[in-house]
């Protein structure tokens, strides 16, 4: 079970700010593929990976990152702070 958080338009497309997901995916990319196959809203949110960023346990990471031991995952668009 992993806590998955969504921010900005990713959150709006998924429809919830966070959820707990049961998965056997080994990497972030595998989880994305799994979710996209599950429901249309995931396909919509994860359609363009170039405009998607991921944080693994609150550290910016890559889609190739392993999910072993990971507690929290977050998906969001490129940041626009400052």
């Amino acid at each position: 079970m992993i806590d998955v958080l969504y921010f900005a338009w990713v959150r709006e497309r998924i429809g919830v700010p966070r959820e707990r997901i049961e998965t056997s995916a080994a990497t972030v990319m595998e989880l994305i593929t799994e979710l996209k196959a599950r429901e249309e809203r995931y396909d919509w949110a994860f359609g363009d990976l170039a405009s998607l960023r991921v944080a693994v346990d609150q550290e910016l990471s890559s889609f190739e990152a392993s999910l072993a031991g990971v507690r929290e995952l977050a998906f969001f668009p490129p940041m626009t702070g400052g």
Binding site: W9, A55, Q58, L60, F76, P78, M79, T80, G81
Partner: protein, 146 residues
């Protein structure tokens, strides 16, 4: 180091005075303040979302990195989230150093990283509706200079 991620407005002047007063030994203080632009008088507002927990850690890591790169006496970062009206201050950075080159470089470095590596997202609210601010290519490119 003083880092604050907050919904409440902050007093730029009071924070700047307090910062300048406590940096004994510094000869140079640089501040940067980001404001919600009033676009030609059109009523502008902004909604800022962030990632509680990660935001504070990401900012503290940037400040630590700045301290290893430049000789800094102190640094401060304040960033708001939630709803802001036109003209309101979104965030501020302050740096203090013995010499001005370090203070300027560290402030620009912190701004470049806050723009593209701290988990904040801005939504612009105008008469035309609400729109997420797109990341600018220049902002990503600006990181390459460090």
């Amino acid at each position: 180091m003083q880092v604050s991620v907050q919904a409440e407005p902050f007093d730029l002047g009071a924070l700047t005075n307090a910062f300048a007063a406590r940096v004994a030994g510094a000869g140079a203080v640089v501040t940067f303040t980001g404001l919600v632009r009033d676009n030609g008088g059109a009523l502008a507002a902004m909604e800022i979302e962030h990632y509680p927990g990660m935001t504070e850690k990401a900012i503290a890591a940037m400040v630590d990195e700045a301290k290893t790169r430049w000789s800094l006496v102190d640094a401060l970062v304040v960033h708001r989230y939630g709803r802001l009206a036109g003209g309101e201050a979104i965030m501020m950075v302050a740096t203090a150093a013995r010499h001005r080159a370090d203070a300027f470089a560290a402030a620009e470095f912190l701004m470049d990283y806050l723009k593209s590596r701290a988990p904040f997202w801005k939504k612009e609210l105008s008469a035309d509706g609400a729109e997420w601010v797109a990341a600018r290519d220049e902002d990503e490119a600006a990181l390459k200079r460090w």
